[in-house]
Amino acid sequence: MIKVDQEKCTTCGICVDICPVSAIEISEGVISIDRGSCTLCGVCVSVCPVNAISIKRKAKTEDTSGYKNVWVFTEVASGTLKPVVFELLGKGRELADKLDQKLCAVIIGSGADKFIDELGAYGAELIYMVDDPIYENYSTDAYTSAISQLITEFKPNIFLYGATHVGRDLAPSVASNLGLGLTADCTDLSIEEEDNLLLQTRPAFGGNVMADIICPNTRPQMATVRPNVMEPLAPDENREYEVIERKISIPSRSVRTKILETISGREEHEVGVEEGDCVISGGRGMGSADKFEVLDELAGLLSGVVGCSRPIVELGWIPKSRQVGQSGKTVSPRLYIACGISGAIQHQVGIRNSDIIIAINKDPKAPIFDIADFGVVGDLHQIIPRLIDRLKKR
């Protein structure tokens, strides 16, 4: 229920202007909320200067007090740990210290023990390990069961997953299985001072707004976290850790999907665009497919990965998995370089969270310059080769 305290209300009109669904009106000097269109999003509550608007929520009775520690899901891909695992451990360390709880890694796989030293070095104090051939390849069913069982037995307070293909398949399945809240694709996490809740920050509406989300009544508090935004700790082999192994056998018939074939879209261990710390994208202004070799070379010099705008995928020059933008990947690298990309809004929404955006485009009016930190107006065929020369000489 949403309510306006008419005594407190000064009819300043801020809520009327901010309501995303235009459900609030001032008529004859009183605020009224149209229940039919109100979505109870709570934006008005947070902006009201006199706290005149309130939303009443039903309290859950579940006892959340027994839940402790910060867990990180360990994703393995082609025989190595995904970089996002180290980032989650870095952030998880900070959260665990703040709460005075333990940082734990959960590793599920076949031959999982070969990763535990590395997990320890990156800050995990406790490692929950489930090792069985059934977990050799990721499957929603087997992994959801194993994780659900671990959660039920060990009761973690916080559980973080990378917002990767696997993380975004697994986390909602677990959340739904156990009736938990889950916040998607977070770009920041912190602990609230007052009640020690996990404050989860994420972009929405194509990056046009940010939202802070909490999950007060269910445990663990779960979030998927965007790769590349958290800082890993420097690895230290002297960090001590403990391993708890659990045997969780899943009958193979309860795994209802079967991988028939794996088609590699890129070289082994090659980094995806959403994981690159430096992303260099080319658009239609590149002119032809072979010109992308220049970008590969530049990427080599800056330890970057190559991405592209949508028309490039349509032309078949680069696989779809490297498309950046609304219908492709959202990236948040330290450095994004857009070469011959006009910067249509659909492209912009995918790059807004980059630390630095550099644009090279011969059209000074290209919209990409609106969001570029450093823009070079000029012909990329002249600029990029020279840039490569200069970088090589260093």
Binding site: R35, G42, C215, T262, G265
Partner: protein, 262 residues
């Protein structure tokens, strides 16, 4: 075969603008569209139905105006539409949304495949599909690009992974969440199709139709709570240079150095 396609009406986020002074979203005049991923999923369902025969039901939860999106689905080729709309559903997070959709799917009865978009462009969570699959206890495949084969008992899909693609097989019923292919051109329905859609059934169901009054509907049933919404920090004004290539590259190198990148 019976296909259910879950669709959502979303504001066209590419038209959303932020008022730089107040930091609020300007929603005025922002059109509502059918979530692009859902449109792709619906087209896949139509493509499959052409081979297998059957019936496509589109299902959406949202305010009454979401009917528009459903009408569009009917014009494109869905056979029937159901809008879940009730004051009690307002404020749903992904859990409550999937809970509500699950009740509706159960009420619909027998089905072979559920199609979802990978994500809705407003919230971008990509959670409703997998959460719905688990509520219904059916297998899921996410990041699906296309259905390669389907028969009475199973489906084979091509799905994107972090490292490339996989072909994956699943028994039926199952839930598929679709990304889209670069070649996809949304179909613009003809006048005849738009007219024809008017005679198709579009029902509205409320909480009384779904039952389970104490269920996790709406805000009360949502474990996550949005406590603050604000505009992201604006990017500072950039430097734009227009110089001969040598000079431009000098300045670019200087900039990279000053930012500590090289």
């Amino acid at each position: 075969m019976n296909f259910i396609v879950c669709v959502k009406q979303v504001p066209d986020t590419t038209e959303v603008e932020v008022d730089r002074e107040s930091g609020t979203i300007i929603r005025e005049g922002v059109p509502s569209i059918l979530n692009p991923f859902d449109e792709f999923a619906l087209n896949e369902a139509i493509r499959v139905k052409e081979k297998t025969g059957g019936r496509i039901t589109v299902l959406s939860m949202g305010p009454p105006q979401a009917q528009e999106a459903l009408r569009k689905c009917l014009a494109i080729g869905a056979d029937e539409a159901i809008l879940l709309t009730d004051q009690a559903f307002a404020g749903s997070d992904t859990w409550a949304t999937s809970f509500t959709l699950a009740r509706a799917v159960e009420k619909l009865g027998k089905y072979d495949l559920i199609f979802c978009g990978q994500q809705a462009t407003d919230g971008d969570t990509a959670q409703v599909g997998p959460e719905l699959a688990r509520q219904l206890n059916i297998p899921q495949m996410t990041y699906v690009e296309s259905i390669e084969e389907i028969d009475d008992g199973s489906v084979i899909c091509k799905k994107e992974t972090d490292g490339g693609y996989q072909r994956v097989k699943s028994g039926l019923p199952a839930l598929l969440a679709f990304i889209s292919t670069p070649a996809f051109e949304p179909k613009i329905p003809s006048i005849m199709e738009v007219m024809g859609a008017k005679s198709k059934t579009l029902s509205q169901w409320g909480i009384d139709d779904l039952g389970d009054e104490d269920g996790d509907y709406g805000l009360d049933g949502s474990p996550t709570q949005v406590i603050r919404v604000y505009s992201p920090p604006q990017r500072g004004e950039g430097v734009i240079i227009e110089e001969p290539p040598e000079v431009a590259v000098d300045k670019l190198i200087e900039y990279l150095e000053s930012e500590g990148i090289i």
